[in-house]
């Protein structure tokens, strides 16, 4: 593991421990009150979910057209993180919606396209696990579709009628709310970098193991 990993992990852990205090000090939103504070973890996890799908898609494209096993390992790691952060988005969102909208789920464009992106990431992992020989390239193709879905998820709230807040909400946040949000965004981005590096390291060790088995057979 690289030298920066442990210090950065310590900093991230401290930041995550501090984030609830900033979130608690942020003012209540006028119409939703306390439950709106789910936003401070929901939005960063959604951004990292989309970022992870983009990383997976770019690495998969580079693997498909360049054949680099390193890019394949990166794509595999990013797909797993897409599932992880997507699960957080798809659980925290309905918990917020139940109070704010009165329902757990709405089949509107933002929610449905996010669910689709999450399912594509699951499909990637299932193909990799059970697809047999050649499944790495099949899964890479799937990842391209997962990446193509990302802009659609992001802009959907601005073009379709939905009760989900629009993307214009974030720039209008007052300072106290903005500070808590951007601090949480920094926490989630750092965690993403750490988990991605850790997961890639696992794939590197697996590749090393495969190479050792091959050398034993020879």
């Amino acid at each position: 593991m690289p030298k920066w990993f442990v210090p950065l992990a310590a900093v991230t852990a401290l930041m995550f421990a501090a984030s609830p205090f900033l979130i608690a000090n942020a003012p209540y939103e006028a119409t939703m009150g306390l439950v709106q504070k789910i936003f401070y973890y929901h939005l960063p996890s959604a951004w990292v979910f989309l970022l992870s799908a983009i990383v997976c898609g770019i690495a998969s494209a580079r693997f498909l057209f360049g054949g680099s096993p390193r890019q394949d390992r990166l794509a595999y790691a990013a797909a797993e993180l897409t599932v992880l952060f997507g699960a957080i988005v798809l659980v925290t969102g309905p918990l917020w919606a139940r109070k704010a909208w009165g329902v757990w789920w709405q089949w509107d464009v933002r929610l449905t396209s996010s669910l689709m992106g999450w399912m594509v990431a699951w499909a990637y992992l299932l193909v990799r696990k059970y697809g047999g020989p050649g499944s790495d390239k099949l899964a890479a193709g799937l990842a391209l579709f997962g990446m193509a879905n990302v802009p659609f998820v992001y802009i959907s709230v601005n073009y379709w009628r939905t009760i989900h807040p629009a993307t214009s909400v974030v720039p209008t946040l007052p300072v106290d709310m903005g500070l808590a949000l951007w601090f949480a965004v920094a926490c989630f981005l750092l965690l993403f970098v750490l988990l991605l590096r850790l997961r890639v390291y696992l794939e590197e060790q697996r590749a090393r193991l495969d190479a050792l088995y091959l050398s034993l057979d020879e």
Binding site: I38, H42, I88, L95, K99, L191, L195, L202, R206, L212
Partner: protein, 91 residues
């Protein structure tokens, strides 16, 4: 004369006066107290359990994922060490 009467009638008719000066809506007088248990379900729902569940879920998922990757990594590294020692013995 008839036109003057018509104008006066129009000027003081309730529809015209209300259109000219809309009255602010007064809140309805409270004539009963409704216990909170009789409110619709979404109005009764307290926010705190939802908030705590959301944050707890995030922390538990991160912790479980780190433990899961750690276990997988330990297993692979043990196997790598075992194979390396086997290869060294053969050599």
């Amino acid at each position: 004369m008839r036109a003057l009467v018509l104008l006066l009638l129009l000027a003081f008719s309730p529809s015209v006066t209300s259109a000219q000066q809309p009255e602010p809506q007064q809140p309805k007088q409270t004539d009963e107290f409704v216990p909170i248990s009789q409110l619709p379900a979404q109005d009764q729902l307290p926010a705190a359990p939802l908030l705590v569940t959301a944050y707890a879920f995030v922390w538990v998922v991160f912790f479980a994922y780190v433990v899961s990757v750690g276990r997988r990594l330990t297993k692979v590294q043990h196997e790598v060490e075992r194979l390396e020692s086997d290869i060294a013995k053969r050599a």
